[in-house]
């Protein structure tokens, strides 16, 4: 037997046959997102990953219907469906959310993005002095690189530098925004990323875990990390000590999802004081919102991202 024949036999125990269900599911979710993005007219770069949210529900239905027709006869792939809850783990959910986040187009740094967020029970940290929220929702705009923000308050459009906004109000820079400025130097390894983010505000092990979880949650909910960074953030969530899955999470807009949850320590000690959840759509794994509640079950805050879509400028709605 010569060297090539030996090599061909090496690892031939690996079975041939059908592709794994998880690979199918990852592919299916990514294909759906990418097709939706293409149809929405977003730029789809060749080797970058994706834009997770800016997709109209009607397109999702259309794509699902198209897939059903295309894949119906004899194909293994199926319609998007709920994850197998019996096997759903933090790691699996993180992988799926990362795949969904990383599968679409990215945006140029100066691209404005419209965001419609429920504001019934929280203040957006990037607009924390804005109190007008007459309809229970807030229309805001942010550039893809997170350096500029805009909001309509009292019928008037305000466009700010994100950091300058805090300076103008003589307030310390919001810690997640300060940390965001150094995002290019963050490690890609999930464990190292958690360690780095945990060092921003944490002292005890529980504090460090919560710090990492909190910063990731704030970036996901209030800033617009690039698709690749978003994917890394989701993967990192699985590496935060103590994170659990809530398969029956409901965001503050009443939408059912799956949550990454972490108990947060009391500010003066390590006793559990409440929980924070990053809630994602159970079908598309795209972010629905955040939710925090205390030990009595009372919701403390919970931004729900209702819509997020690139637009031509601040103040422009899709």
């Amino acid at each position: 037997m010569n060297d090539m024949e030996l090599l061909i036999r090496l690892r031939d125990e690996v079975p041939a046959g059908a592709v794994s269900p998880r690979a199918e599911e990852l592919f299916r979710a990514g294909l759906t997102t990418t097709i939706e993005a293409e149809r929405a007219g977003f730029p789809v770069p060749r080797n970058r990953s994706g834009w997770p949210w800016a997709l109209r529900p009607a397109w999702r239905l259309a794509v699902a219907a198209g897939l059903a027709v295309a894949l119906g006869a004899g194909l293994v792939l199926g319609l998007p469906g709920r994850p197998s809850e019996a096997t759903l783990t933090v790691q699996l959910l993180a992988d799926r959310a990362a795949a969904a986040a990383g599968s679409g187009p990215s945006l140029p740094p100066g691209q404005w993005i419209y965001r419609k967020v429920s504001c019934g029970n929280y203040f957006d940290p990037l607009f924390w002095d804005v109190i007008a929220c007459p309809s229970g929702t807030l229309d805001t705009w942010i550039t893809a690189d997170g350096t500029k923000v805009a909001v309509v308050d009292g019928g008037k459009l305000y466009v700010n530098s994100a950091a300058g906004y805090f300076r103008a109000l003589h307030q310390p820079l919001w810690p997640p925004l300060a940390a965001y400025a150094a995002r290019a130097s963050l490690p890609a390894d999930p464990g190292l990323l958690v360690a780095r983010l945990g060092g921003y505000t944490g002292n005890t092990a529980a504090d460090r875990a919560y710090s990492a979880f909190w910063i990731i949650s704030q970036w996901l909910a209030f800033l617009v990390p690039s698709p690749s960074l978003t994917a890394e953030l989701y993967r990192a969530l699985a590496d935060v000590p103590g994170v659990k899955i809530d398969k029956n999470a409901v965001d503050t807009a009443g939408r059912h999802g799956v949550g990454f949850t972490l108990a947060y320590p009391h500010e003066h000690g390590d006793a559990t004081h409440g929980w924070l959840a990053v809630i994602v759509n159970p079908r598309t794994y795209q972010l629905l919102g955040l939710k925090a509640w205390d030990s009595t079950g009372r919701t403390i805050m919970g931004p729900a991202v209702l819509r997020q879509q690139p637009v031509s400028g601040p103040g422009i709605r899709p």
Binding site: N2, L7, L10, V14, S20, A23, E24, R28, L31, A70
Partner: protein
């Protein structure tokens, strides 16, 4: 529709159709994902294979407008994308070759069999092969394994890696020479 329920047509036909009807690209996944998955599994193991396989086809989907429709068989293109993605996990791949070389236990194949003692992976030759693979330059290893595990011809490997066929031949020659040196008296 064909006998297996799949649309009739070459890979190029499917890709061309998917430019107008993107959902049709799933046909390509159905057609080639099992082979790509086995190739990726043999190189990286089960933990990474699902992600790499899905990403391979998603990248291919995004690049379908640039696909040369004169190439009726998309396998070289897909194997090339998969190989690039494997390259991002090179350290993990090499770590597993070294583990096999050092211990005789292969973390890649263990999930698939509880009976490895009569397999080449546990043999002296298997261990030496793994050691040789770990030491090869990445481009040589890619070339060698696309032939041995991807079952591609030299011309197809050239298309997959975007290099001339002559480069494939020289890389393969050097890689095999290195393997033979490592195998020593085991071969014959």
């Amino acid at each position: 529709m064909g006998a297996q329920g799949l649309p009739v047509g070459t890979d190029a036909d499917v890709i061309e159709l998917s430019r107008r009807e993107p959902e049709e690209f799933a046909v390509l996944f159905r057609r080639h994902a099992p082979q790509i998955q086995r190739y990726v599994l043999r190189r990286l193991g089960a933990d990474a294979a699902d992600d790499v396989v899905a990403e391979t086809f998603l990248l291919a989907f995004r690049q379908r407008d640039r696909y040369d429709l004169a190439r009726v068989d998309a396998r070289p293109w897909l194997y090339g994308i998969a190989t690039n993605l494997i390259g991002r996990r090179r350290r993990a791949e090499i770590r597993q070759y070294r583990a096999l070389a050092r211990t005789g236990r292969d973390p890649v194949t263990e999930p698939f069999t509880d009976r490895v003692d009569d397999r080449v992976s546990a043999s002296a030759a298997g261990r030496r092969l793994a050691a040789a693979l770990a030491r090869l330059p990445a481009t040589h290893r890619d070339t060698l394994l696309l032939v041995a595990w991807g079952d591609l011809s030299y011309e197809e490997v050239a298309a997959a890696l975007g290099v001339p066929v002559g480069t494939v031949r020289s890389r393969l020659s050097r890689a095999r020479a290195a393997m033979r040196r490592t195998l020593g008296e085991v071969t014959g």
